[in-house]
Amino acid sequence: MQITPLGDSALIIELGDAINESTHLRVQAAWRALTAEPMPGVSEAVPAYTTVTLFYDPAQLVRAGAPADDLVSWLSERVRERLKNPPKSAKTKPRTVEVPVVYGGDFGPDLARVAAQAKLSPEDVVKRHAKVEYRVHLIGFAPGFPYLGGLPKELITPRHAKPRMAVPAGSVGIGGEQTGIYPQVTPGGWNLIGCTPLRLFRPEDDPPVLLQAGDIVKFRPVTSEEFEKLKESK
């Protein structure tokens, strides 16, 4: 484990050097240990693929007893202690979230493109995409946007050279070896294979998202009629 400063008010804790399941589990465990009880002066802990980043206020660290001339060592020491002896927290089982998707047609204009490069029929692409379980590695890019790990290798499809100006909300996309869901209308370069009626960003809820890092996602193919029925109004 390596701890590196990120400017004068953040610290990166590195828990691996590749995107995979075991690193993901270490990141999740470290995040839980660092947030189960507040750490003085630390305002936020942000997990990503291989890291947890702590944001802190130097003045508050000093108030918590850190020596003014060596805040980083002091905080790093506290992080190491915390990870060695994590507070008892209910180790939650990962949630499995089913995400209904209409594949192809106007809902997934790039399904044919993904099928062509995989040398599969569009139906087979859907079958394979919806068969596996995905892990939410992190939420980023846009509020509620999940980066999912676990895409079957044959479905890996390069991004569009020229991103679309407006990807419809709910679009399920493949970008290289990643798959994810666009919560809002945004520009985006991934291959769109389908669309979900679910809202991924819910600012009125706590937490304000449908999916969180650590969750397991299963896609369920649905018809466009079912899509309309399931569509959530804002």
Partner: protein, 329 residues
């Protein structure tokens, strides 16, 4: 009630941001110069996280229906009220029915306006900051437009005392000022201090030298998320892909083009480009005042020095706060 007669170029409601939700992809945002916003609030007796207006390049024209105590700071906008110059960096009494016009920035780019009591907009995820991309927070989730009406909370005791003192003396503004850019130990003009970034070693010696010696120029590719700089291309020793991770305000990331981007408070919650440096927290405010095409140099300082600068500025602010408690007009 404050009526927006003209909205200005990009006037938004901001506080110190919306921390705590980055792991859900929600940006922190908040005033681009959080310290300046805190000082403006301090002057009118607000909590430092009270919602203020942030102005960019062209300010708004506002009509105050009721008497109010306001303070503004930041760039050199030709602000007026009732046709007279509206003094900066101090508490000013605006009379009922008076029009405040913030004009156009003559130097600098942004300004912050605190109104005693703070702007009354709903808290969304713990903050009043405008989150434009998601269309929430601030005033209806967007920059101000003509015809908007803003409310403010009731001013605190301190604001009441200041208003009473100004009225008693027949004055419009306090004699004392608090100038955020003079607190702590400011860098020389045209200089922004920075520390090495986590991927510093990924860059070649030329890039490392150039970053801290070149005259960089800000470009028009600039918004509240970040500012792209023009100057010598910064190359990695060898091509290398970074795994996306959290970023912070002030982080200088270098995409494959070699032209660095300095991230600002409305940055995305994660980034995937190597980070050659990070602007010192105390110099973010100065950086956000740079106009497109303006020159800037980065001075390399060690991390403990950057943090000492931060602490020194906080000490100064504390001192000012204690001093202000004893004075009114």
């Amino acid at each position: 009630m404050i009526r927006v007669l003209k909205p200005g170029l990009l006037t938004t409601v901001q506080d110190l941001g919306r921390p705590g939700y980055q792991r859900f992809g929600v940006v922190v945002g908040g005033a681009l110069d959080a310290f300046a916003a805190r000082v403006a609030n301090l002057i009118v007796g607000n909590d430092d996280n009270a919602a203020v207006l942030e102005l960019a390049q062209t300010g708004p024209e506002l009509r105050f229906d009721r008497e109010a105590l306001i303070a503004w700071n930041g760039g050199d906008f030709g602000a007026t009220f009732g046709g007279q110059p509206l003094p900066r960096d101090r508490a000013v009494r605006v009379a009922a029915g008076e029009i405040v016009n913030f004009g156009v920035a003559r130097s600098g780019l942004r300004a912050w306006v605190a109104i005693a009591g703070g702007i009354d907009v709903p808290l969304v995820m713990g903050s009043r900051t405008t989150y434009r991309r998601a269309g929430l927070g601030g005033h209806q989730g967007r920059p101000l437009i003509g015809g908007d009406e803003l409310k403010s909370f009731a001013p605190g005791e301190r604001a009441g005392a200041l208003l009473a003192a100004l009225n008693a003396m027949g004055k419009r503004a306090t004699a004392w000022t608090v100038r955020p850019e003079t607190l702590g130990k400011p860098a020389p003009v045209g200089v922004v201090r920075a520390v090495r970034g986590p991927e510093w070693d990924w860059f070649g010696e030329d890039a490392q030298r150039d970053f801290f010696s070149a005259d960089w120029q800000t470009t028009k590719e600039a918004d509240r998320m970040g500012v792209r700089l023009q100057g010598p291309g910064l190359a990695l020793v060898k091509p290398r892909e970074m795994i996306s991770a959290a970023v912070n305000t002030g982080v200088v990331q270098v995409p494959p083009s070699g032209h660095p981007i300095v991230l600002l408070p409305s940055r995305q919650s994660v980034g995937g480009y190597p980070r050659i440096a990070a602007v010192a927290g105390v110099d973010i405010g100065r950086f956000t005042q740079l106009r497109p095409g303006e020159k800037v140099r980065f001075e390399k300082i060690p991390l403990p020095v950057a943090q000492e600068l931060w602490l020194a500025r906080e000490r100064d602010l504390n001192r000012v706060q204690l001093g202000l408690a004893r004075v009114t007009g």
